[in-house]
């Protein structure tokens, strides 16, 4: 949309322009291409989460299969192909011999360079601890501060993020991007892949700040190419200045839909509808007033964006939920529940809440408690954000949804506390941070009270997919439930739900809820699939390189 093409790559032989910094997913989307891969059952898929979680945007890059288009930079001259479900690896060329493994041993390792991780890094570094931050993305900043990867003016949120990043680096923290952590082990050992080479971290203490991913609306059509999470569209736009489509519809619940709807409208998209499950704030005056009192500035921003949307003629429909999405003449037809007039859009964006990325924490054995209001686990922490595992802290959304201001306050508290525990600086008076944290958490509570992100059981027809990766539909799951599985893990074995590439991140919580409902038991921390290595699919060559390096290490 902005800037000139810096070259071209080919997609199935067809030339596609790219701009510097764009991801493959962004460049393909900008060229109007939405189907990136074929599934084992013959369906097509494209970008969905936009953040490396769903593993649905796979393409073959220069002969190397199963690369995530959303995490892979577009480079001129690349030969990109639709990913086939069963790539031929028997005759493929051997991978480049990877660079030697790198072993790091900082005082403090921070996983995730978002609002929480960067704040923790600054605090710990200033106290004197050596700090390394690992992030999956090339550029730090995380979801709230979403940094731009292409040239162009920054918005306020982005420049605040750029400031925070600059402060962390100025304080002397090291940030390593494009790191895929696949295993975490006792004694605090982290194994990761960094640009094809092994990265091994043996820190003295660790702060996990991996944030959250979005909860989708599981409805018929939710796996169609062109249907993506709201955050995916936000990343396309804010990081790459690529619109997800000309006409977009947003469904689900929560403030992100309104914010992104407005951002896209301002960016030139035609926002044909925002459907919000929650009732209009003016129908809930007391809740709305409580929100306004707990965070006047933020509430005011929210109100202004509603007004702005209205001024732009974007229909915001409160109390409206998605019924189904159908492919219709090269576009998508979006039907709401109890509604007879569907809208047509090129892209449908969905966000119905968040689920924490707590895999590393759970793998290391950190205790968690189920939060029924948000329908996800909250990591058990003390006042310094220390988990039940010695030397392991959790800050931000990965410990349970809390929002960016809370993540930053938690980061400052945990960063100082972790450093102090290692003998750097004193413990300090956390009063101011604790107060901010309290305020931020109060605001969040009132904010979500106005929306409707209660966890749902998928009330969908039998042929609607529940597990995107293994293509397990609701009928198969229901039949599997008929066998009375006592645990989501048993349902997994009976139906293969959760056995695919995303490691059950989308269907896992649903399976846990379904099994709990079917057995009449409450959801608990144990209801979920047990966390396992690898937390993301990992190249066997990287496992071997890590093993080699660990053998050589003392």
């Amino acid at each position: 949309m902005t800037g000139q093409p810096a070259g071209h790559f080919t997609f199935d032989g067809k030339s596609v322009p790219l701009r510097p910094g764009q991801s493959l997913a962004a460049a393909l989307t900008e060229a109007g291409l939405r189907s990136f891969r074929q599934t084992a059952k013959g369906a097509t898929r494209g970008i969905f989460c936009g953040m490396g979680v769903c593993q649905d945007c796979l393409v073959t890059v220069n002969g190397a299969p199963n690369r995530r288009a959303c995490m892979t930079p577009a480079v001129a001259g690349q030969d990109i192909r639709t990913q086939v479900p069963f790539p031929d690896l028997a005759t493929a060329p051997n991978p480049q011999p990877a660079a030697p493994a790198r072993v790091i041993a900082p005082d403090l390792l921070i996983v995730g360079g978002g609002a929480g991780g960067l704040s923790a890094a600054i605090a710990a570094r200033r106290a004197g601890a050596s700090v390394t931050i690992l992030d999956e993305r090339k550029v730090g900043g995380g979801q709230y501060f979403k940094q731009s990867a292409v040239s162009g003016p920054l918005d306020a949120q982005q420049s605040a993020g750029a400031d925070l990043l600059a402060q962390a680096l100025a304080a002397g923290a090291e940030l390593i991007g494009e790191v895929e952590i696949w295993g975490a082990f006792d004694g605090l050992l982290f194994l990761a892949e960094h640009k094809g080479a092994a990265l091994i971290a043996r820190p003295r203490a660790a702060i996990i700040a991996t944030g959250a991913y979005e909860r989708p609306e599981i409805r018929p059509g939710w796996t169609l190419p062109g249907v993506m999470t709201t955050g995916a569209a936000q990343t396309l736009w804010r990081s790459y200045r690529t619109l997800p489509g000309k006409r977009v519809a947003l469904v689900g619940s929560g403030p992100l839909n309104l914010q992104v709807g407005l951002e896209l409208a301002q960016g030139g998209a035609e926002v044909v509808m925002i459907a919000e499950r929650g009732p209009a704030p003016w129908l809930r005056p007391i809740a709305a007033a409580a929100l306004a009192l707990s965070g006047p500035a933020l509430a005011w921003t929210g109100l202004r964006s509603l007004a702005d949307l209205r001024k732009r003629g974007v229909p915001v429909r409160h109390g409206a939920a998605l019924d189904r999405i159908d492919a219709a003449e090269g576009a998508l037809r979006v039907t709401l529940m109890g509604d007879l007039s569907p809208v047509i859009a090129d892209a449908v964006l969905m966000n119905a809440g968040f689920d924490p990325q707590n895999e590393i924490l759970r793998l290391l054995g950190a205790e968690a408690i189920y939060d029924p209001a948000f329908g996800h686990l909250r990591i058990t922490r003390d006042d310094t954000c220390a988990t039940t595992v010695p030397g392991l802290y959790a800050v931000g959304d990965c410990a349970g949804l809390g929002g960016a201001p809370a993540a930053m306050a938690e980061g400052r508290i945990a960063g100082r506390a972790a450093a102090a525990a290692l003998g750097f600086g004193d413990g300090y008076d956390t009063f101011a941070d604790q107060r901010q944290l309290g305020r931020a958490r109060r605001f969040q509570r009132h904010l979500w009270a106005l929306h409707d992100v209660a966890p749902r059981l998928p009330d969908v027809p039998d042929d609607t997919l529940i597990c995107r990766c293994e293509e397990i539909d609701a009928g198969q799951i229901r039949a599997g439930l008929g066998e009375k599985p006592g645990h989501a893990g048993t349902l997994k074995r009976a139906t293969r739900v959760g056995m695919g590439r995303c490691q059950g991140r989308y269907c896992g919580p649903v399976a846990a809820r379904l099994v709990a409902a079917a057995t009449g038991t409450p959801v608990q921390d144990r209801s979920y699939f047990a966390p396992r290595v690898p937390i993301k699919p990992v190249a066997i060559s990287a496992i071997l390189a890590a093993e080699e390096a660990l053998k050589d290490a003392p």
């Binding site: 051997n94 991978p95 082990f185 009330d459 006592g486 409902a517 396992r532 190249a539 890590a546 093993e547």
Partner: protein, 415 residues
């Protein structure tokens, strides 16, 4: 909006079969039975099935503390073969393998037995001698195996590298009728057949004590109350020591963790099962296109410690020389189970010091392949009170008396 309810789930479960129709009842326990089996894994269910089918004993309950098939039966890598060295083992495993051939028809439940052929690679001269000996032994035992050359190995397994520097392929022990089956389906198939005979499969029913009078078993304490029985079969794999304790005797078994992994799905490239005992690894390709890779055991069980994970790394490291393409794969899932191992790596199918109490355990890393034969032999033992020819050598006193059935070579790798 329609509310989702447990009733809706139950209703839909009944109206949408898709091959997953609920196949067995989940009754409440009766006050007493002619026979009680503890453990609804493959071995326990098969025991119950042959008790009913071969011996007409149908007033039977199978007690399971979790869900049926939720133990190692549902975690293993499903290799089926019978190329063991000693006569008693070859007889037992070959009985099992031949029952597998027709099990789908017999149970009227597709267990997806796939006799695709199995190779045990010889990568040292020691192994060459060992396998040549096994081929001769197998031929005498009536088990069809043969020795094949490295060139033939390469023909059968095009992705193999037969002249690796450390572990060249010197040949292989080939069993053409070895292969794999679907693990859960084996448990479900037996479960349905047991249920059809009127047996009670009682899930979420943990046995917590064994009662006896005058040296004879009288019943079991369970989380669902006391259940009386004339005969008791203990078939609980990794928990055998615990339950034996309740029955007042000790077992010569130790527990170890065993692990396996699968890769992402790829185009079919290997239609046989390959085991490489020297390097403690084996590999097959599933019907989903995933490469299924298994390794050796390790001494303890803690999944967050790398002590456990490094066995997988070592397996991969060793296999990669023989299968260079492995380094191009991505690992998707990895899991483990606790297996019960005996000193001679052979199972125990035995009477116990307690009258009318019988035990079946010690299958270690390779009990899936034995399920039908083991159930057959155990049912025979329980029905008649004395072991038949299949079980005779596998009693628990052999360790004291030094009558080992040494299969540490044949079972040298987990499978």
């Amino acid at each position: 909006m329609k509310r989702y309810s447990v009733f809706a789930i139950a209703r839909e479960a009944l109206s949408h079969h898709q091959g997953w129709e609920r196949a067995w009842k989940s009754p409440l326990p009766k006050a007493s039975y002619d026979a009680v089996i503890i453990g609804a894994g493959g071995h326990g269910l098969a025991t119950a099935y042959y008790l009913g089918k071969n011996h007409g004993i149908r007033n039977v309950a199978i007690l399971e503390k979790g869900w049926l098939g939720g133990g190692n039966t549902g975690r293993n890598t499903t290799i089926i073969r019978s190329n063991y060295l000693q006569d008693p083992s070859a007889a037992l495993y070959e009985k099992a393998r031949s029952l597998y051939e027709t099990l789908s028809q017999e149970l009227n439940y597709n267990i997806m037995f796939s006799p695709r052929g199995l190779l045990m690679l010889a990568q040292t001269h020691h192994e060459v001698r060992g396998y040549l000996r096994t081929v001769h032994a197998n031929n005498l035992q009536g088990v069809s195996t043969k020795w094949i050359t490295p060139e033939r190995v390469k023909q059968l397994v095009p992705i193999i590298n037969i002249d690796g520097p450390r572990y060249p392929i010197l040949g292989a022990l080939y069993q053409a009728r070895g292969g794999t089956a679907r693990h859960d389906a084996v448990a479900w198939g037996y479960a349905r057949a047991c249920s059809d005979m009127g047996m009670d499969i009682i899930q979420q029913c943990e046995v917590t004590g064994v009662r006896s009078e005058n040296g004879q078993v009288t019943g079991v304490e369970t989380s669902k109350g006391y259940i009386g029985t004339k005969k008791l079969g203990i078939v609980v794999a990794g928990h055998s020591g615990q339950v034996a304790d309740m029955a007042g005797f000790r077992l010569p078994v130790e527990s170890m963790a065993l692990q396996a992994l699968v890769s992402e799905p790829i185009k079919p490239c290997m239609d046989v099962v390959v085991m490489a005992n020297t390097v403690h690894g084996y590999m097959s390709q599933s019907d989903k296109g995933e490469m299924v890779i298994g390794g050796g055991t390790d001494g303890f069980n803690n999944y967050t410690q790398r002590g456990s994970f490094h066995h997988i790394e070592e397996t991969l490291r060793a296999l990669v020389e023989t299968f260079p393409m492995i380094s191009r794969l991505k690992m998707l899932r990895q899991w483990g189970g606790i297996v019960d191992m005996t000193g001679d790596r052979s199972p125990i199918i035995s009477k116990t010091p307690l009258g009318n109490c019988f035990i079946n355990c010690g299958w270690g890393t390779g009990g899936f392949k034995a399920i039908p034969g083991s159930g057959w032999a155990m049912a025979d033992l329980m029905a008649r009170g004395e072991p038949g020819p299949l079980a005779a050598e596998f009693d628990m006193w052999r360790f004291r008396e030094g009558r080992f059935i040494d299969e540490s070579v044949a079972a040298g790798v987990a499978h």
